[in-house]
Amino acid sequence: MNSAVMKKAMYLFVLPALLFYCIFWIFPILKLFQYSLTDYNGYVQSFDYVGFDNFKQLFGEEILGASIKNTLAYTAITVVLGNAIALALAILLNANIRAKGFYRSAFYIPTLFSAIVVGFIWSYVYMPGDGLIASFFAKVGLGGLDTNFLGSYSKALYSIIAVDIWKNIGTSVIIFLAGLQTVPNELLEAGKIDGAGRWKLFRFITLPMLATSVTINITLSVINGLKAFDFPFVMTNGGPGISTNTLIYAMYKMAFTDQLFGKASALGLISFAIIIAITVVCVLTLNKKEVSA
């Protein structure tokens, strides 16, 4: 229908979006490459090129390895646990019961709260002494248990991961539930008649039919985990020590607290490379699985 001229004219429609996207998203990323080779501090406009010093420094310091490890743990746990819980909840909700909408909303509500508010509420929940968990333990006679969740090197990271899962699970539940509703009942009935058990029905009928929702949920939670920033920022300031530093939080702190823009840019680029590599591998694997399922 459209002539070639019309098609060319159509590209004008991309311009506003493209302009914003290039100026405020792509160009800054390119700028990072430049800054990463300098000793720029973000305030004084003159800076010197220092070659790969920033990268060399980073590779010699503990913070890089620690924040990579924390970010990977954060991502792995939120992806696996978050999606497993969400899928289990969605399957429960998909049963033929009343008040489905009520339950669904109840799991979705935390999603509507700002990370600031969620971080504050959970800081109270985790607080030693008067916090929710601590006073609950005291009430049931377990007062002797250590409840300093956010102050402990070994527990702080897992504690903020739990908050992330709590906040984001509602969205995944809704997406899985929509996927489950596309699984035709006849297919499950046919499977039952053929003598398939519950696990087999799930593995060979439900799960393949859920492929799209699984892909979406896993992809979104992988990206969300690799970009994790909110809860280290709001709840722990990366601490105690550097035990809850994620890559993005470490980069932010380096830039805005330590005023090392150059070094932070280098860390940003390393993080970026890691995020892209993992996301691409995930998306390709999931797509292959989805096609074959």
Binding site: Y11, F24, P28, K31, A95, V117, F229
Partner: protein, 278 residues
Amino acid sequence: MTNESRVKRLSTHAILLALVFINLVPLLIVLSSSLRSPRNMTNPLNWFNEFTLESFESAYTRMHFPVALWNSVVLTVVSVAFVVLFAAMAAYPMARIKSRTSKFLYLFFLAGLVVPGQMVLIPVIQMIKGLGIPLGQYTPILMFITCSLPFSTFLYTGFIRSGVPEEVEEAAYIDGAGLFKRFWQIVFPLLLPVTVSVIITQGVWIWNDYFFNMVFITKALDAPLPVAMLGFLGDQQNPAQWNVLFAACILCALPLLVMFFALQKYFVGGLTMGSVKG
């Protein structure tokens, strides 16, 4: 109904109710504490032992609630309007034209999804200053629009490709309607389901964002709700009591909660948009 299936149903309800309870306990404690007077320091676990709006009144004044609410509304509405406009327009050629350029553009936008805003922030402040754009109350809008483009163009493009074939424009084309007219009068109205989805998914994150707002907004009275809350939390000179802070938490979340319960159907539909269409 057989006895067995009744037992099964009841136990499903029991399990779900228990899970909902565990899930919402922190929020219920916050609600119960916010309904106490600021001086009531009894154990929060003895919940709902007092009902007064004193803490709410204090939080309402101290976080300048009406001003912060208005700021949130302006930031969110303006940003989302531009996102809808720009993303729908950009998706149109990306879905209609089958060429390398079009495919490249689609992936180029989509790739932006993996970029963390914190990373872009370092150079972007310099960029904005360099362009002579003043830093202030409305600067975050630029970042909100930009950050929302990858996901929104992805949704719109997918929808046009699978759900809005070129044939719908045929009659108008024969009548000699230009591209612009065909897009706005015929294609855009058909995109309503995606537009709802974009408004909801992007609107919620923009409403709740504290990061870009915190970076660009320096005056207390320019701040939207999450930043007003942040300032209130960090006020060392004038620390607030727990109950007042909890009331502030509820106030901060209230507008979205009200929206959610009023428009639940659209929220659920909007969230699943990308996942069912593929």
